[in-house]
Symmetry: C2
Amino acid sequence: MSKCEQCIVRQFNSLKALSKEELLRISSCKTSRIVKKGEVIFEEGDTINGVFCIKDGVCKLSKLSPNGKDQIIKLVVKGDLLGQRSLIGEESANLSAIALNDMEVCFIPKSEIMYDLQKNPKFSLDMLQQMAHDLKESDNTIVNIAQKSVKNRVADVLIYLNAHFGVDQKGYLSINLSREDYANIVGTATESAIRILSQFKKDGLISTQGKQIKIEDFKKLERVV
Amino acid sequence: MSKCEQCIVRQFNSLKALSKEELLRISSCKTSRIVKKGEVIFEEGDTINGVFCIKDGVCKLSKLSPNGKDQIIKLVVKGDLLGQRSLIGEESANLSAIALNDMEVCFIPKSEIMYDLQKNPKFSLDMLQQMAHDLKESDNTIVNIAQKSVKNRVADVLIYLNAHFGVDQKGYLSINLSREDYANIVGTATESAIRILSQFKKDGLISTQGKQIKIEDFKKLERVV
DNA sequence: TTTAAAATATGATATTTGTCATGTTTTAAT
DNA sequence: ATTAAAACATGACAAATATCATATTTTAAA
């Protein structure tokens, strides 16, 4: 079993605020797990008795709406924590977490996290800052979804994915989402997302190779209304 | 100047986690202010060097979108704190706060809050829980705006306002919003909000008296699609 | 490899929502 | 009480988006 003290990933989340002793304690009771692409880590309503630390891979956080469609709220990546909101709110999961590619995930029991939150003010302040950041992002998403056109939001997602995941050697976005995932991020029908991506292709803003997408004209993409 | 130790309002927010000594310290350096309906408490981009505690009244938190329309993210009411996200995130305000009716607001300087966040784990944990709750609400708003129809969202807002603000002696919602505010909450054009409320009136779901709105048929309102 | 299933694509059309114009009512200042 | 401004209301129409149908392509399992 790998050791938290030596794990580089914790530098990217609130666990970096823990002391060596605290890390050792956590390390001794954490578990680790491989999650295959498409696998569910937890579902809306599940009781999550701890926090996940993403060692590798990406997953989507989504929620099923009454109309039967999933809305993707957030992509959670290597280095992020997962499940902290439910844990702190003392309630079952509000969102589902599903792997978008193969992942490696550690699990830290609730009791350990709660203990450190009470004993280590640096840790809880860091957690608070991270939560404040997430809240800002969600508030901004509300404004975007409420006020921008679907076309504009699809363009935004492409720019976001480029900025956060980068591109491979051939210039294709390093993360491959299905058209349905694109639709569920921007909050539209799958056909609409497909149509808009096709239009972007015709207009030379992007090119595609199966699922893969390459941004061809950033400037124009940023100017999409 | 009134005293925080004796202020009933703090029971409704994280300040309840402070000790008598901490409250005395905060009380000695807080300021108090009357805010008239329509007045701006702070604007997007402002540096807020502290936290507001709402002693009375209601304000809206909104953000201007590139299309020139305001999106209302949240209503902040008596007992709530205001500005804590910006303070904790160490950044300027992401949203504007504007009074919806006459308010009484206390202001606690940043240094005091930060001091207590570092010294009192109960306080920071409570703040964290409040922030976790706000995040859940925002995530749910994303799903609703992305997936429900405008009509559905208008119905939801009416039900929400009833649940959170109640009604007066005659059965009218205790809080009076302009049609534009309704539009900016659900993320639609003002005319669309007006049209939908008119339709609800015709269908007997609500009745109106000028700005005032009375819910006449809850069951039907909840079933609006 | 073959083949069935899933994902992508696109047309036709319906529905929802936005925009612009214009009139009416309400509100608040004089 | 009068009046101007703001808010509310509604029609006509345009634009955006969803839905349904049906190919085509890609993916993954046998």
